[in-house]
Every structure is written in structure tokens, then in C-alpha cells.
């Protein structure tokens, strides 16, 4: 693979994006790629908009991308997908979690949660909307939503050369492994 691939993970602080990017990059390194990843630790511990960029290929220079350059956008929250969509290549893909976290301006009635986000995304980009929350509950723990999304991302990118179950084992505490493997597999099926 000559060309560098760019993944953009976005969501809201506290949704477990950092863990997903950690597992993702560990897998890509194991597969022999040059990998760079960039994360911005925002101001607030929770509640702000967060993003992580992962780049992989034969040789990666810049740790970050500009607008119009991501191959795939994985959004852990619905509105955040619309916020970051300009970072996608015109033929980029969107994986969006159909899950709403109202921001404070929305909560206090100063703004409204946008309607029709998924439809709008779907008009312009190849969009896969998944209900990671539901899948995570089915698996048995709502907190595995992030790993469900990892599964969906791996599927969308066709990253099958990596033994992801092994990578999950290496990166999670033992008692969390089984449920997260299930969540991952669920994400692959969605």
C-alpha cells in the first residue's frame, strides 16, 4: 500500500475514543505499517468535542491532516459527525453512531439539536449509521460502545490482516477482555 490512509475519530470527551485509537494503532503497528497518531487533549475532562487522527502506510510524515483528507470518519456521537465532515475526502466514508449527546447550549435551550443529520450525511458521503449503544447493551455493558465502533471501523476499512482479538487482549485488563471481544465482533456484524 503506497498511499497513506487517514482515519479520523471524533466524539465527546469521556466516550472512550483514546482507548479505541490505542487499540487501533497497536494493531496497525503489528501489521507492519508506519503509524502516526495525534490527539488533542482538550480543556475539559468531560463534555467537550474531541478528535483523534490516525495515519498509516509505508511511510507517514505529518501526524495530522487538514480538511478534505480523511478516508474515513468515525463519529461516536451524531452531531459531531457533521462538525468534522469537512475533514473527509470527497469520496470518504462515514461511520456514525446514532447516539445523541446534547451539548450545553442545547441542554439549556440556547440551541437545538440538529435534525436529519444522518440523512444529510448520507446525501453527500457513503454513510453507515449504527446503533452502538444498543449493540453494547445487548453485549451486556453500555460502556463497550466504543469497541463496537472499533469493530465497525475495522469492517469499513477491511483491516482483516490483523488479529484484533489478540490486540484487544493485549490492551485491556483481563476481566474486560471477553465482553469487549464480543462488542468488537458485534461491531463487525453491524
Amino acid at each position: 500500500m503506497k498511499e497513506t490512509k487517514n482515519i479520523l475519530l471524533v466524539g465527546v470527551g469521556g466516550q472512550g475514543i483514546i482507548l479505541v485509537s490505542k487499540i487501533l494503532t497497536a494493531g496497525l503497528v503489528k501489521a507492519g505499517y508506519d503509524v502516526k497518531m495525534s490527539e488533542v487533549h482538550g480543556m475539559a475532562q468531560r463534555g467537550g468535542s474531541v478528535s483523534t487522527q490516525v495515519r498509516y502506510g509505508e511511510k507517514v510524515y505529518s501526524p495530522i491532516i487538514g480538511r478534505g483528507q480523511a478516508d474515513i470518519l468515525v463519529s461516536f456521537e451524531k452531531m459531531e459527525a457533521a462538525r468534522w465532515v469537512e475533514y473527509l475526502k470527497p469520496d470518504g466514508k462515514v461511520v456514525v453512531n446514532n447516539y445523541e449527546i446534547p451539548s450545553l447550549p442545547i441542554a439549556i435551550g440556547k440551541a437545538e439539536y440538529p435534525q436529519g443529520v444522518i440523512e444529510a450525511l448520507d446525501k453527500v458521503f457513503k454513510t453507515t449509521a449504527i446503533d452502538a449503544g444498543k449493540a453494547a447493551i445487548e453485549v451486556g455493558n453500555i460502556r463497550t460502545q466504543n469497541i463496537v465502533l472499533l469493530g465497525a471501523l475495522v469492517k469499513a476499512l477491511g483491516l482483516n490482516e490483523v488479529d484484533w482479538v489478540e490486540i484487544i487482549k493485549e490492551n485491556l485488563p483481563q476481566k474486560m477482555v471477553d465482553i469487549n471481544v464480543k462488542a468488537f465482533q458485534k461491531g463487525m456484524e453491524l
Binding site: V12, T25, A26, V29, D34, V35, K36, M37, S38, E39, V40, H41, G42, M43, A44, Q45, R46, G47, G48, S49, Y61, S62, P63, I64, I65, G66, R67, G68, Q69, M79, E80, A82, R83, V85, E86, L88, K89, P90, P102, S103, L104, P105, I106, A107, I108, G109, K110, A111, E112, Y113, P114, Q115, G116, V117, A120, L121, K123, V124, F125, I142
Partner: protein
Amino acid sequence: MKKLMSGNEAIARGAYEAGVTIAAAYPGTPSTEILEHMVDYKDVIYSEWAPNEKVAAEVAIGGSIAGSRSLAAMKHVGVNVAADPIFTYAYLGVNGGFVLVSADDPSMHSSQNEQDNRYYAKFAKMAMIEPSDSQEAKDFLVEAYNISEQFDIPVLFRVTTRICHSKSIVELGERQEVGHKPYIKNINKYVATPANAKRLHVVVEERLKALEKFANTSALNKVEYNDTKIGILTASVSYQYAKEVFGDKASYLKLGFTYPLPMDLIREFASKVDTLYVIEELEPFMEEQIKAAGIKCIGKELIPNIYELNPDIVAKAMLNETTEVKSVDVEIAARPPVLCPGCPHRGFFYAISKKKNTVVAGDIGCYTLGAMPPLEGIDTCICMGAGISAAMGMAKSFEVSGRDTKVFGVVGDSTFFHSGITGAIDIVYNKGKMVPVVLDNRITGMTGHQENPGTGKTLMGEDAVEIDIVEVLKSIGYKKVAVVDPCDLKAMNAVIDESMVSTEPYAIVTKRPCILIKGLEPSKVKCQVKTDKCKKCKMCLKVGCPAVFFKDGASYIDKSMCVGCEVCMQVCKFDAIEKVGE
């Protein structure tokens, strides 16, 4: 062994491999994880959270004088705090190697300004090294210690957010067992009297000349000749952006040693390329010096001097290339950072925002978010410590101008130890008619939960004396120090009211731990809206909690976010919010 490492992790590893034995820092994004990772090597490196950057720099300077390879790390504005010892240590020169890591934050992802600390190298007359990825962060740090000791000079190791918080693959090395240099008393070297300083200033200038010569041949500076139509001089992460855009269609002079600049090398490179471009983030630090040396180049004519760069910006600036960007047709709401659900600061800000004729000088910490709507509970935020001392100036100004507004000065626990104490002393000493408030959440919250002198633990995980903020204030001379749970609104209000009429020095300490402190049991109690009792007055929305919103015509509390702090419950006039899950 190869490992994916952030720049900060790699710097800690570099310190280990360089044989560092003393490391001190005060947390600050994007530098914080350097010392957090230093703990990985605690068997051989002593590391500490100092109360502030000046102390951190001085501890490391002391370590260096005593013969240890030493490191101090801080965010860019931290260097302002530490500038005093640094400037003079550049005159004195080192014993064990000394490196000051400055982590700048272009684009101000989590900072109050965008200062370019490369100027500190020139200003204080230190050597400067800048890595462009994690591998270099590790390797160059080892070289920084060699240079520091060889040239008897402190080294400024300057990194930026994208170096600190980007991960890339690092090949690890072994630790050099450099041991400790013997400490020998040397008054002429280490005592900065005017007479010594006069002599030393001459020495410093000579050192810099010798360093410039060295820079011309240093392996940290690399020339890469390809097509010579375009010659790019660059350093730090900008090199990666340039490579991304131009690949091997341009020639590069990539500098790792950036002060003093290798002017002969630059002149030679300039002579071999048709046009020399300087690609650097923020200020024209290199460009100005290159132009002053009479070398023609193009820099800030094209490259912006505001905000961080990325490949897209470089391509647009240099090649007029624009990337196709598609957007979607939805109106999105902002998602500003907010005080967490259950944040203890919320209670204080809710209470103070209801007090008429008050001004609140704020500070930097999670509580800066108290300025956001709907709380809008602070009037100012300048730098760490100013929450108390700027409040003093405001109070004095109101006093002399005859305005009867009551002034509060707010800092957090970590900020109190950092530089709030001196302001608190000023108030008592100079009879300030104002109330200092310490929002003690038992941790350094904003930067991701570091221990501080009030928490009873050290960076290396040892138990420590818990320095008691209340006792400190009492010993300064505050006649009344009110301690209150900020989420008990009635008590909080009563304390604020009492403080406003007190004629004696009065201080407030709010005490309630941050809900995110590791090891704290998550609360089983949650708040819940009794929908039938909800009068839809939206009073509860006024506390600005992300867990409370209005949904389908009534207030609603998200159980997965609520931690049961009960602040919303206390503001509901209709008892429509209840506790569940006890």
C-alpha cells in the same frame, strides 16, 4: 525494540537513556505526560511535581550544579514563571547537563496565549534543540545533554503540542550510565554577584560563538538534496508538513539544532537552491535571523504566523493548491467544554452568580469554565495566581474610586500553592477589602489529575505531608477562614453573605473532591425529575449541568451522567427533583 510512543513519552525515555537522575515539573498541557512517564523510571530517576515552574526549574538547576543530569519540563507559559532562574543559569553554566523542556501550544488547544518560546533561547542565551517526531524527541534529548555538558550551557528543548501528543514509532536504546559529576565548591562560577556576572556575560557570548560553529556541523542539522528549484529550511513538526507536501520534489535543510542557527550551513544551502523558503510555525524566528545575515529567503510572506500549520495550510500557502472539501447541510450547535456533572465548582459559581454588586476575578483551572453560560460566574482570567492578586488591584481601584462593589478572587488548590499564596499574603499585608476563595477539589484537575502539595501524595506515589490550605491562610493572618461544601448551596450562600460584610480578613475554602479522582467510589445516588411535579420553569437548567436538559416539554436528567451532587435539586422550587438509588 520498537514502540509507538507519544513525544512526551519519548522525552521521558530520552531522559532515561541520557542518564538523567533529577527531573522536576509543574503540570501544564501539552507537557504534563513527560513527568508522568518519568515515573516509569523511578528506580533511577528522582522526579517531582514542584508547586510551580520556578521551583521546578530551580530544583533541576540545583541538581545540575550538584552534578546530576537534570531536567525541568513545563508548558510555554510556565517558562515565563521560571524565567528568572533560567536567565541567570545561562550565565553560570552547568555541572551535570541541564535541559529545560518548553512545550508550546500553537493554536492554543488548551492555553491562554500562543507565545513562541524559541525566542527564550535567544533572549536567555541558551542552546536550543527541536525534534520533529517521537524518535527525535528521544534521540535529540540524549544529544542535548552531551551539548549542555560540552559547552557548559543550559539547553532549551522546545516541543509543541503536535510533537508532545502525536505518537510515532521509536526504536529504544540503552541507558548511558554517565554517573554524577563531582560537586566542587566554585564561588566564581555559581555565585551570581555583579562582579561574576560581568565576567560571565563575556563568557556567554563566546560560548554562543563556539556553539554556532558547532551547529554548522552538528548531526542534528541535515541537508537533503533533491530537485534544487525549491529549497526548504524548516524545523520541528513543520518539517513533517513540508515533507508531506513536497516529498522529494524539493531540497531540505532540516534543523534540529535551532539556536544559535548554523548560518554558514544555511548560506551554503541557500546558494545551491534557486529559492530558499523558510517553513516555520508561529513567529519568523529563523527567518528574521537569516534575513539579518543577508541571506535572501521567503517565509512569512506566504506562511501564516498565527495558529498551527498542517500539510493543507502549507500546500495552500506555497502552491496555491486547495483541497476539495464537501460539507453537509445541517446546522450544528457548539460543543464548548463544560464543568463536568457533579463538579464541585458548580455550587460556588451558581451561588456567586446570584450575588448582586460583586466582581469575581478568576484564574486558570477547571473553574475557568465557570465563565461559560449559564453560570457566567467569573469576570477575569489572566494567568495562574492572578485570580487573587488581580482581585486585590480591582478592590483597591474600587476603593479609591468610591465604588462599593465586593471583589472575590478565585483560585484552585493547585493554583493556590503555585502562586496564590503570595497574593493571599498581599491582601492581609496591604489591607485588601476583598475575599480570596480557594476552590479545593483535592487535585490538579484541569491538566488531568496530578497530585499537589495538598493531596498527600507525591508524583512518585509516596505518601506526603498534606499541606493544609486552611492553616496556611490562618497563619497568614486571615481572622476567619470559612470551610464549606460548595454543593451545599445554603451553606455556600451563607458563607458568601458573611464574607461580604466582614470587616476583618476573611477567606473561603470550598472543600469537595473532584468526581473524577481515581479510586473514589462512584455515587450510586442519582437525581431524577418527577415529571408530574415539573412546572417547566427551567430553573434547573440554570446550574449549567450537562446531565440536565429539557426534553419533550419537561426537565430531564441523564442517569448515565448524573453523579447525584444535588445542586439541581436544591434550585428546584417545586421539589420536582428527587434522589434515587440510595
